[in-house]
């Protein structure tokens, strides 16, 4: 992994963030050194250098405290899908709740659009929750006594929007998530997937700047989960809304995420694009995690290519630099020879059978320097 930029080394894979900032992309959430500790005298832990270095278990034995989020820093950029992924107990759900202070962080800095969220009073915080960040929950959190449309309109009702207006808006959202015709049903009469669509519509109805998803599809059947993931991808394509997405499912993270923060024991162990996570795992834990990922469906030909040799730069099929390995395999197999990797008319290199197979067979892992940015 390349963590080269000086001054930002506390952020795993900070180069990415720095680059993005240079690109002029706005930062929505800026999180620095965030801690959430549960237990007696929890507020002492983050500043106590004698215990901050301990492992989770040692910390619990020494202090009786559990650090759910440990010294976490990252930026969420406008318009991206930022995925926080980790196993259960890794602190990811706590982390996302800290963003709107549903769980009060113990220490650290937390900004949204440059405003200090931790310094907000109750009114300001309520406004933030009402209009700027809406959340979708694993177990839906729908009100069982209300109809679908009233559930969707609930956020607007809380804001004090008039009945006719919120009904109209809610109906629009119900159509948008594909529940037209079910407006008068109650949550208990819907399937799990439909209920989560209601949850999604409820969050969308308030037109928030950021959507927060807390393991939204973990409680759903695999096929429906797939549908819902595509729904999220579609929504993101259409609206370009910023999303923070919590999941324990690596496939889901790779499918929906622009960038992924991988958490373990409250810490971010790696932060990067799906290709970086799969192609260049930061440590053995991450490597273990991504072992079963079909690499050819995540990695691109950039990673597989080698420099063009004599004459190769002019012949064979041309592939864009972000072509997936799996697509490249097909092209190479059809042509029978090497294919060119082209970016803006320039030939970056070539891929042949051997290069592609090396990636699939993980023989490339010993070459960490070749990650394309």
């Amino acid at each position: 992994m390349a963590t080269t930029s000086a001054g930002a080394s506390e952020i795993p894979n900070a180069r990415k963030a720095a680059d993005a900032a240079e690109d002029g992309r706005e930062v929505v959430f800026s999180v620095r050194h965030l801690w959430k500790v549960f237990g007696p005298k929890a507020d002492k832990i983050p500043d106590d250098t004698s215990v901050t270095g301990l492992s989770a278990q040692e910390l619990r034995e020494r202090t009786g405290c559990t650090a759910a989020v440990r010294d976490v820093s990252f930026d969420v950029h406008k318009g991206e899908v930022f995925v926080v992924m980790g196993l259960s107990g890794s602190g990811k759900s706590t982390l996302v709740r800290c963003l709107t202070r549903l769980i009060e962080p113990t220490s650290g800095d937390l900004e949204m659009d440059g405003e200090d969220v931790r310094a907000m009073d109750r009114t300001a915080l309520r406004e933030l929750r009402r209009r700027r960040a809406a959340m979708v929950f694993q177990h839906f959190g729908l009100l069982p006594h209300r109809t679908v449309v009233d559930n969707v309109a609930y956020g607007l009702e809380i804001q004090g929007v008039g009945k006719a207006e919120r009904r109209e808006k809610a109906n629009e959202m119900v159509d948008k998530v594909g529940l037209a015709g079910l407006e008068k049903r109650r949550p208990g009469q819907l399937s799990g997937g439909q209920q989560q669509r209601v949850g999604l519509a409820r969050a969308l109805a308030v037109d928030p700047e950021v959507l927060l998803f807390d393991e939204p599809f973990s409680a759903l059947d695999p096929l429906i989960r797939r549908d819902m993931q595509e729904e999220v991808v579609r929504l993101h394509r259409e609206e370009g809304r910023t999303m923070v997405f919590i999941t324990h499912d690596l496939a889901e993270a790779l499918r929906v995420g622009d960038r992924i923060a991988l958490m373990r024991d409250g810490e971010i162990v790696q932060l990067g694009t799906p290709e970086e996570i799969v192609g260049s795992p930061a440590d053995d834990y991450v490597r273990d995690f991504v072992r079963d990922v079909p690499r050819e469906q995540v990695l691109t030909v950039r990673r597989a290519m080698r420099p063009a040799e004599d004459g190769e730069a002019d012949q064979g099929p041309a592939l864009a630099a972000d072509t997936l390995i799996s697509d490249a395999i097909e092209a190479v197999a059809r042509s029978g020879g090497a294919a060119r990797v082209v970016d803006g008319g320039r030939c970056l290199g070539v891929v042949d059978h051997a290069c592609l197979l090396n990636v699939v067979a993980r023989i490339d892992e010993d070459r960490p320097g070749e990650v394309a940015a």
């Binding site: 009402r130 809380i158 008068k184």
Partner: protein, 669 residues
Amino acid sequence: MSTASAPPATQRGLGADAPKANPARALLGRRGVAKLLLLAVAAAVLVPVVHAAWPGAAWPSALTVDLSGPLGKTSDWIIDNRDNHWLFVYFLGHLSNAVVISVRAVYLLLLALGWAGVTTGVTLIAWRVAGWRIAATALVSLLVSGALGMWVPTMQTLALMVVAVAVSVVVGALLGLAAGLSERLFRILRPVLDTMQVLPAFAYLLPVVLIFGIGVPAALLATVIYAAPPMARLTALGLRGADPGVLEAVSSLGATGRQRLLTARLPLARKELLLGVNQTIMMALSMVVIASMIGAAGLGDRVYQALASVDVGAALSAAIPIVLLAIVMDRTTAAAGARIGAAGNTATAGPAWLRGWQVWTGVAALTALLALAGRLTGSAVWPGAWFVDIAHPVNDFKEWMVDHLYSGVPVIGGTADWAAHFTNWVLNPLRDGLTALPWYGTLLIVAALAWLIGTWRTALTAVLAMAAIGVLGVWKPSMNTLSQVLAALVVTLVLGFGTGVLAAGSKRFEAILRPVLDVMQTMPQFVYLIPVVALFAVGRAPAAAAAVVYALPAVIRITTQGLRQVDPAAMESARSLGATRWQMLRQVQLPLARPALLLAVNQGVVLVLAVVIIGGLVGGGALGYDVVTGLATGDLALGLVAGVAIVCLGLMLDRVTQPTERRTTGKGA
């Protein structure tokens, strides 16, 4: 014993049971033995000392405190100052006036509506809230009440009920709201409410009479004190039991505290709230009937008067409307609860004109119309011609029973013989034994039992409660009451467990049993006295019999449910190992259903005690009789002391049978 065995037992299959059970049981045995040893050591030190100081089995008079003097003085002071002391003039007086006026107003309204108006109104409301079946039941019930010549008493009871339930629900809901929102208040209130729920209704009568004197205010207040706790309890539990996921979602959308309460917490607790209203209504009815002893007119008073002269026919005429009223009220509120609890959108079912305020306007209009029609035809109160006299035939039948069934029936003997045998062979020896047992022996037994089943805390409470009885100087009548409770409890448990096991084993038997239990659990305690008086005349045996009948449904229910809820996987594994039915019952079902069985014992004790006390009205004697005498003769000190002893006895019995885990189900239904 139960401390450690309960949690593993619920999870364990039979395969794992055999090897693990023995060391576990050995450990438990050791723990139980340790407790007993500790107690034995304490006893060995204390008993000789105590015995030397106060020889004799009865509670030593040196250790009693005579409260009759101070209590009598207090009572006299209250009577003297009721008309001029500021506390009465500015507070209690207003309270009592408000009660009298509101009950009177409701009563006059009911009378003004006339039988036609009331019948129409009640039927329509039942139809709207619970459907046409229950509406039909309501209609028939009211007509039957009228035909039995009980229209006016029914209206009196109804008026009292309306006010009592309204006040109880409001008070209970407010308390519950406070306890639901504040953790600290919940911790304070919960044990109080739990304890109030196990105390017999009789215990509440005397204190309110002391303050308000005999009359409607006292009756109403006693009813509210008795009926508000379930509402408070269920409101608090409902508010606390709300799905945290939903509440979090509501917070994440930026709801204020008030919005959270009104749009999420209260609606989410609707089911519990309605269950609370249902239980409050049932308890209020039960108490309104009993409160006839302290000045509540109406059906209860009729039963009370009839029982006093052992006029079974007249008692039955008044009891039938009570039972019908109870069934209608219970089914209506239960159906309303079930409707709201169901996820379906029943609220929007039916044509538009059947919804919302229109239908209620229609109900009101139709009621008014029929009330007017009733008045115009000159039959505001129930028409005298429509009267069916059942008192005489019932009394004739009772005479026939006295002649033919009471004694001398070949082979099986007569009912009076049974009662006599039960009294002579069971109640008397038990009572004499308890009285002859040295008092410290009784305390030790109580301590041992409570400690083995529960914790040292419950044991301490039980012992202190028992000692308080002795200090109050009512040791002997309390032992008498206790003997009746124990005898009735044993009979209840034998019958209840037996029936419960049968019902759990056979779906068909359970289906037959269910409606019977439903009706039995709906009936107020008072009503049970009538059939037993008819069958067994008066005395201690009929009181015990009424207690058995009253407590039986709950015990059967809990047993059946407990056996049914045994982990099916454990049952299946036992069956796959080739266990016989009997083996499954003995080795799997009963051990796994142990928490339920302990709960059944606990509930059984509480319910039996309630009725044994009321049995004082039909010759049960002891503490119940003291309360009745105290009320009848105006000797409030006697009654109050007996009331406190009842409370102590109730506390002791509850704690002794209290499993370590606090139960969550309510009383009765």
